[in-house]
Point group: C2
Chain length 413, copies 2
C-alpha cells in the first residue's frame, strides 16, 4: 500500500475518535517515498561543518604535492650518510638554496615544507652536530626518514570523503589544505514551522514546550527554518499557510487530535492531500501527513512528548533524508537488560522512555500519559514493536540513547 | 609533579630537538588543574540547546499543575458510569462550565487542558454516543482514565535536569512548559585563536587546514571565539597577543617545533609562563602549555594531523571542562578486534587512525607521518599507551569513533 496512490477517503475524526490507525511501518514508507535528497548548493568550506557532500570529495592532486619534510632537521641524501657515527662524523656544508641540493650538502628544513630536489631524507637534530655553517652527521640516516613522498597520503583522484556522512572539522581542514574554497553540499531542507496549538505562557499557566523543542530538533537534523507562525488555530488560515510556496517541509504542531478545535487535518485536506491521519504509534498516534503544493506536510500532536516522538520517527526522518542524511534515528544505540517490565499495548509501536539503573533499563511510566519530564529523566528510549505487549525483565533490548559523547558519566538528577 | 609549582627551566629547543618530553598523563594533569568550570550566565531558554546548566533544574511547581486531561473526550465522574453498557447506556448532559462539574454531567474536554473540579476521568469518544447536548456512556470508565493528576509527572522541587549534561531539545521544551523564560548556564569559554603558522592558499600551494578545523572543533566543544589572528609569526607580536586580556583560553596553532621559525614557545615564555613544551605524544608531541595573564595558553603543532590530535587530547579537554562539560573525548567508543598490527613507539602515547574493515580495526599508517587524509579515511582512532609497542592482530581495542549517529552505515570512500 502506497498511501498516495490510494488516498484514503477523508474522515473527520473530531468528537468521533480514530476508527483505525495505519501501522507505523506504512507511515514510514510514506515518508521515504517523499524524501529524495534535495538538490545541491556551493558553499564556503568554512561553513560546511555538519553538512553532507553532494558528491564524494576526490583528491584534486597528489597529497603531499611534492616530497615534503614531516620533521624539522636537515634535508640530505641518505646514501651520503652511510658509515657515519659518533667516532666517524661526516661533514655536510649547510646550503641556503631551497630548490636543489648540491652533492654532499644539507639544507635546514622545517616540517611541512618541500624537500629540495635531490634530498631523500631529513636528519633530526639529535643525529647531527651543527657548527659554523656545517653539520656533522653522527649516525646514518634512513632513506625516506622524516619525509612524506609525493602522493604518499593520497594520489590525485583518490576518493577521500564520502557523501554518506556529515563533514567533520578535520574534513574542512583537509579540503582547505588543497586550496579548495567551496564545496558542493546537499541543500538544507527549508522547514516551515506552524505552531498551531501554541500557548504563550502567562503566570501559572503552562508555557509552550513545542516551539523551542522543534526549533532545535529541526536544526539538529540539518533543516533550516523557512518561517514560523504561532497560534494559527483557524482552519482556513492554516490551510493558506500550508499551501504557500517556499518550503520543502511544513511541520504543524498541535490541533491534530479528536477534540472540537483539532482542525489541522481538515486544513491539510483543504490545502492539498491528507494521506495519513492516525498512526498505530504511542505516544504520537494522532500524527498525520500529506502534501500541499511541493511540500510534504507533517502534522505533529501538540502534547509535547507525543510531539517529540512523532517528530523523531516521522518528521525528523523526512528532514534527515531530504538533506542527504541517514534514515537512522540520530541516537546511538546501547544494549541493556530490562530491569522492570516494560508494558506496551499490542497493536501499537510504542516508544518507552527508560532510565538506566545499575545498567538495567527501567521504564519511567506509561508511554501514553507522560510528558517531557519523562524524556528529561530518561537516558533514552526503547521501541516496542506493535505485536508485542512489552518486554519482560531479563530481556536484552536496544536503547536509543539521548546522551552526547561529551556528557558526564555520573549524572545528577 | 604539578608543573606550575616547579616550572621547568626554559629551554630553547630550536635546532636542538626536545631533550625530553613529559608524559601525556602529566600534561593532562596540568590541563585539569587549570580548568575549573567558569562562572554562569542567564540566557533565554530558546538559546540554551547544547549548553550546560550551572545548577540542576528543579521542578518549580507540580507538573501537571492540576489534574489534566491527556485524552480528548468527556470529563466525568467515573463512579457515575458503573453499570453502563451498550444495553444499559447512562445519560450525562454536556455542560458548558469548564470549572466545576455538576453531578451526573459531562464536559467536552481537549487533551492538555485542566479537568473541571469533581471530574476524575475522561471517557474517550468510542465509549460514548453523543446526541443533542447529551452523551450516553456505553461502558464503565476507569477512575483516572485519560487523566494525569496534579504532580503525577513531577512534584514541585523534584530535580529534573542535571548539570552534568548538555541541554537537549526536549529539555528546552520542558523548561519552557513551566513558563520559565531564562536559564542559568555555565558561561562559554572565550577562546582567542592565533593561527601563527597560517598559510593562505595560492595556486598549487597548500592551503591552511588548521583555521577551519580549529574553528569547528572549538564550537563543537562549547567554546566561543573571542578573536582570531592569522599569520602572526613574529615573537614579540605573538607575545603581545597572548598577554592581551579578554580570553579564557589562548590557542596558538603552529610555530611550536624545533625549526628556526618556531617562536611560539619563546613568545609564551616572554608573555607569561611556559609550563610544558614537548609531550610524549604522537602525533602532536611539540605541543606546549602555560599561562599568560588569566588565560591558559595551549600551543598546538601546525601540522594538521598533529594539530588535531593535540587539540583533542589537550585543548579540547580544557575547553570542555571550563564549560562545565566532561573530560571525556567527545567521541563514542566502540570495541573492535585488531585486523592488522597497530605499530606504536614505546615511550609515546600514540593516536592511531584506523579504518573498520569487515568490522576489524586496520591502521591507516604511521601515526607520525600522516596528514588529515588519514583522519578523513578513518572511522576513528585508537590510543596506544606509552608502555606498549602497539597491538597485535586479534587484540580487542577501543576505537574513538568519528562518526555521528545520523551518518549512513554504508559509506562510499
Amino acid at each position: 500500500l502506497i498511501p498516495d496512490e490510494h488516498p484514503p477517503v477523508f474522515r473527520d475524526v473530531r468528537l468521533e475518535g480514530f476508527a483505525d490507525r495505519i501501522p507505523l511501518e506504512e507511515a514510514v514508507q510514506w515518508i521515504d517515498s517523499h524524501s529524495k535528497a534535495l538538490d545541491s548548493e556551493e558553499i564556503p568550506v568554512e561553513k560546511a561543518a555538519g553538512r553532507v557532500l553532494a558528491q564524494p570529495f576526490v583528491s584534486p592532486r597528489d597529497m603531499p604535492p611534492t616530497d615534503t619534510a614531516v620533521m624539522d632537521g636537515y634535508a640530505l641524501r641518505s646514501a651520503e650518510t652511510i658509515g657515519a657515527g659518533s667516532y666517524n662524523p661526516l661533514s655536510f656544508p649547510i646550503q641556503a638554496d631551497a630548490l636543489v641540493l648540491k652533492p654532499a650538502s644539507a639544507f635546514l628544513i622545517s616540517s611541512g615544507t618541500p624537500l629540495p630536489q635531490g634530498a631523500d631524507a631529513v636528519a633530526s637534530f639529535d643525529l647531527v652536530r651543527a657548527e659554523n655553517g656545517t653539520i656533522e652527521a653522527i649516525g646514518p640516516v634512513t632513506p625516506g626518514a622524516g619525509v612524506s613522498s609525493k602522493g604518499q597520503e593520497a594520489a590525485e583522484g583518490t576518493p577521500l570523503i564520502g557523501n554518506s556522512r556529515s563533514l567533520r572539522p578535520s574534513d574542512l581542514g583537509l579540503i582547505a589544505s588543497f586550496g579548495v574554497k567551496t564545496v558542493n553540499v546537499v541543500r538544507r531542507p527549508r522547514v516551515r514551522l506552524i505552531l498551531a496549538g501554541y500557548r504563550p505562557s502567562s503566570g501559572w499557566e503552562l508555557g509552550d514546550a513545542d516551539a523551542p523543542m522543534l526549533h532545535e530538533l529541526i536544526a539538529r537534523d540539518g533543516g533550516v527554518i523557512e518561517s514560523s507562525a504561532y497560534g494559527v488555530r483557524e482552519q482556513s488560515s492554516l490551510a493558506e499557510l500550508m499551501a504557500r510556496p517556499g518550503a520543502d517541509v511544513v511541520l504543524v504542531g498541535g490541533l491534530t487530535g479528536t477534540g472540537p478545535d483539532d482542525v489541522a487535518p481538515l486544513a491539510l485536506h483543504a490545502a492539498g492531500t491528507l494521506s495519513v491521519h492516525g498512526i498505530a504509534l504511542r505516544p504520537g498516534g494522532s500524527a498525520g501527513m500529506g502534501t500541499a503544493g511541493d511540500a510534504a506536510v507533517i502534522l505533529l500532536p501538540g502534547s509535547p512528548l507525543h510531539c517529540l516522538c512523532a517528530y523523531d520517527l516521522l518528521a525528523g526522518r523526512l528532514i534527515r533524508r531530504l538533506g542527504g542524511r541517514s534514515s537512522q534515528l540520530p541516537y546511538r544505540i546501547r544494549q541493556a537488560v530490562v530491569g522492570r517490565k516494560i508494558v506496551s499495548s499490542i497493536g501499537n509501536d510504542e516508544l518507552c522512555q527508560v532510565r538506566l539503573v545499575s545498567g538495567e533499563a527501567v521504564p519511567l511510566g506509561s508511554a501514553e500519559s507522560g510528558g517531557l519530564v519523562f524524556a528529561a529523566r530518561a537516558e533514552g528510549f526503547v521501541l516496542v514493536p506493535a505485536p508485542l505487549e512489552g518486554y519482560a525483565p531479563g530481556t536484552t533490548v536496544s536503547i536509543y540513547m539521548y546522551d552526547e559523547p561529551g556528557d558526564l558519566e555520573g549524572r545528577s538528577k
